[in-house]
Amino acid sequence: MTVSRRKFVIGAATLAVGMASVAGTAFGQGWTPTRDVELVIPFGVGGGSDLMARVIGKVIVEEKLLPVPLVINNRPGGGGAAGIGYVSASRKADPHTIILVNGTTQITPILTPQAKTLTEVQPVANFMLDDFLLFVKGDSKYKTIQEFVEDVKSKPDKTFNFATGGTTDVMAITVFSKAIGKQINPVNFNSGGEALTNLLGGHVDGVIGNPLEFMGHLKSGAVRALGVFRDDRFEAFGDVPTMKESGINAENFQMWRGIALPKGVSEEVQTYWQGIMRKVAESATMKKYIADNAAAESFIVGKDFEAFLANQEKLYRDLLGKPAAQ
């Protein structure tokens, strides 16, 4: 269906600006978009992934990366399932549609059979990785991860309660429980903010989560980070040891956020969008956004991204105890 979409033009001047930059000169040969591009966000306005998509949109518009206007369309619902479903059903092989994808859109179909999986879209590039840290309250008696783990090991399974802000936090707890051989009792909340609130209120013993909501409290000493689930130390929090260097053999656990196209688009189109996303990733705005969110830049593109996703899928399925159906 060939259609023109005039949805949600970012900024009033976009159209004029878009038309002014001569179509596709920046990328030379191959495919270039000929009509409005739709950026689908499979989440409601205001969340972390929505903000990142809007930053991508802002960079594309401000740096005039596209010869056509970019329109943003939020399709929230079902942990990303509604948005993926929308793209796979009504935007098949449409090179003028891009969609934000993240770990949640990969996890939802594992838990919810009717949700469309990421195999319904064509991954283009990943922008960033969110890290997971283990936090305790600032006045906790545990100063190091070793002290904490020893105490956990000395008590029965599930003695310790950890607040979670979503499925990914639960999976991080599973990673940690596996590494120390004792189960932690997850108490599920709706967001990282709620998990933080309950940690500060002393209603739970700890949290494993993304640093975003915790940064201010970490600096002020209201919460303490005992360890991070990655290979090397964090630039932002240089004094937080990694799990591995603390002698805890926990798998690396990070969440990704990237962009995909509808399934069935040509190689040319993919190459074009990979080029655009590379420019977005290299922009100062995007770099600042990632730094402000205490996340790690991780530009993975094309086949590498697909391989990365296949790995993540296996990891998630293992953690959730739902191995792929053979």
């Binding site: 269906m1 259609v3 023109s4 949805k7 949600f8 033009v9 939020n74 599930k158 009792n185």
Partner: protein, 151 residues
């Protein structure tokens, strides 16, 4: 005849009871209790049972209410016309965009249901459709598919 006068009310209460039954049946697909706490099926089961009980209670109350207390109801035809127009409009939103169905829906209500002058009805419907679409689609930048070709 008493039963005739209240059969609509009874059917309505029975609808709520049916929803309750559906929830009771559906809740059994899920675990009721796991580990320390109730699982996904627990509260739907409790709520379902409660709704069935309360709805049956309402039916019993209706049957035991003295006849003279049954209230006379106003005629239904007009409300059904409006509801029908609303449903038709919503059904066509997905195919022809918002502008045409909203305009036709209002025109139908003004000129057919309310028997208002045709010319005024047409003008008012067109102006209201225009104003609302400008507010939502342009000013608030909601991705409303306005026209048939807006998909």
């Amino acid at each position: 005849m008493k039963l005739d006068a209240i059969k609509g009310e009874i059917a309505f209460a029975a609808l709520f009871a049916t929803v309750g039954l559906y929830w009771v049946a559906g809740s059994l697909d899920f675990a009721i209790w796991s580990g320390f706490a109730p699982d996904s099926g627990f509260l739907p089961l409790v709520f379902g049972v409660l709704l069935v009980g309360l709805s049956v209670g309402v039916i019993v109350m209706l049957l035991t209410t003295p006849v003279e207390q049954v209230v006379e109801r106003e005629p239904l035809t007009k409300s059904f016309k409006l509801l029908g127009a609303l449903i038709l409009a919503v059904a066509s939103l997905d195919f022809v965009g918002f502008a045409v169905p909203l305009f036709l829906m209002m025109l139908f209500m003004f000129s057919y249901v309310e028997k208002l002058p045709l010319v005024r009805s047409t003008i008012v419907s067109a102006v209201v459709t225009g104003i609302f679409l400008v507010i939502f689609a342009r000013w608030l930048q909601i991705p409303v598919p306005v026209f048939p070709w807006s998909y």
